[in-house]
């Protein structure tokens, strides 16, 4: 029962979604609507579960005396946004939007900006011409970094065409093979999920 029920549910949903792919794109079948509704609503509930467990892990840490201040900040942040949204909604110029645009967003992009520094230090440490592979990697990277710099045209006028050719042929050929590989992986995984062979998501191995 504990395995049979989930496996049959995934079979039914899988087969239905597969079949509905071939339905005429102008039709507005209720079944398709309903399935998509279920899919999105379950996902939203999944996020609620995540938030609940997020807060309970942090508060358990506080009660164990692990970094009460920082874990308190964590919970404070998570509760602050819903509180602000309750005060005056999601309108432009609401507290909620202000907090998002002036506190959350700048911090996020600052964390992202740290990458510029890390790219440089990783390039220095790791980008060594050790063997044929790494020499190719290094050369192509240099061509792109110089050629796509806004003043790269002054160094050599042909960069644009060369980079476009690399992108359209050798680089595309490798990426295409990777795309197809991932595509095949998804196809076999999907088949295994639908037919109940793949049960990793139930904790089985």
């Amino acid at each position: 029962m504990r395995k049979f029920l989930p496996i049959s549910v995934s079979f039914v949903f899988g087969v239905l979604m597969f079949a509905l792919w071939f339905e005429d794109s102008e039709s507005r079948s209720m079944l398709h609507f309903t399935l998509i509704d279920y899919w999105q609503i379950i996902f939203a509930f999944g996020l609620l579960v995540g938030v609940v467990s997020f807060i309970s892990v942090a508060s358990r840490k506080i009660s164990r005396g692990e970094e009460p201040f920082y874990n308190g900040v964590l919970i404070f942040g998570a509760l602050l946004m819903p509180t602000l949204a309750m005060i005056d909604g999601l309108q432009p110029n609401s507290y909620f939007q202000w907090m998002f645009e002036n506190v959350q967003a700048p911090m996020q992009s600052s964390v992202f900006a740290l990458l510029a520094f890390f790219v440089a230090s990783a390039a220095f440490r790791g980008f060594r011409a050790r063997n044929a592979q790494s020499i190719i990697l290094l050369l192509v990277a240099l061509i792109v970094i110089i050629g796509r710099a806004p003043m790269g045209e002054f160094v050599w006028g042909g960069f644009d065409e060369l980079i476009q050719w690399i992108r359209d042929f050798p680089s595309t050929s490798a990426k295409r093979a990777v795309l197809i590989g991932i595509g095949l992986g998804s196809v076999t995984t999907s088949l295994r999920v639908i037919f109940g062979v793949e049960r990793t998501y139930l904790g089985e191995r």
Binding site: L47, G181, T188, V193
Partner: protein, 251 residues
């Protein structure tokens, strides 16, 4: 017409997948070629145990539970978790996706109970950080800097956060094993990590390590389908060159 081809291809893929599964189930051996990262994976757990420091395992920001890479990563997690349970080593697993968190908790619990250490299993070590990319990145980065794990496993689908994690890991001197299908991040893992599994190598490694028949069978099935793809292209090119009017290859 288009739908017919898709349905036909699905049937072919299904037949190949189930045929290889059947062969393997009947005891036919499928020999995997050697993949360098696999041995390193095993050593990394031992290293953490020796040093008495934790292991950090994270599946990256880009994945969801349906992705083949996430599933492969779960399979490897179950093996790593067994080892950490045996060696009494702490396993930390932060993720951006509550569904992945739920699944990973089940997987690790099963692993701990398989080796009879269920009392040592702590679900709080497998936790949800944030669904926002750099919220997740900042959270995991902080964990790396403070807990100073001996080994870090970055296995799954990664996006821009990859290098933040790998660089922080390098800064605390951890052995890092990466594996992902996100091709953009591979370039960074290649230069910042000790071992890197490219794309489907991760998938093959998971089949090999977990000894899961179904996974091995699909690796084999994909090999066969790759041959089919190449044959299609070869025939298509011949017919496009010698019979320019032909158009059957336009799928």
């Amino acid at each position: 017409m288009d739908s017919l081809i898709t349905i036909l291809a699905t049937i072919v893929a299904g037949l190949v997948t189930f045929w290889t599964a059947r062969l393997i189930h009947r005891g036919r051996k499928y020999h995997l070629r050697e993949i360098a990262g696999i041995k390193a994976l095993e050593d990394a757990v031992g290293r953490a145990a020796e040093m008495g420091r934790p292991i950090l395992y994270t599946p990256g920001y880009g994945g969801d539970i349906q992705r083949p890479t996430t599933i492969a990563s779960m399979n490897i997690l179950s093996v790593v978790a067994e080892k950490t349970a045996e060696y009494n080593c702490e396993l930390i697993y932060p993720t951006h996706d509550p569904i992945i968190m739920a699944t990973a908790q089940e997987v690790v619990r099963e692993s701990y109970s398989r080796v009879g250490k269920i009392d040592r299993f702590n679900p709080d070590n497998i936790y949800y950080v944030s669904s926002s990319q750099f919220g997740y990145a900042a959270g995991v980065e902080g964990e790396i800097v403070r807990k100073k794990p001996a080994s870090i496993f970055l296995l799954g689908t990664f996006e821009a956060e990859s290098l933040i994690l790998a660089e922080s890991g390098a800064a605390v001197g951890a052995v890092q094993i990466a594996g992902t299908d996100s091709t953009i991040q591979l370039a960074f893992f290649l230069i910042a990590c000790d071992y890197t599994l490219f794309g489907e190598e991760l998938f093959a490694a998971s089949g090999y390590l977990s000894g899961n028949e179904a996974t091995l069978a699909s690796v084999w099935a994909q090999d066969i389908m790759r041959i089919l793809c190449v044959s299609f292209v070869a025939l298509g090119i011949l017919s496009a060159l010698f019979f320019p009017e032909s158009s059957w290859w336009k799928l």
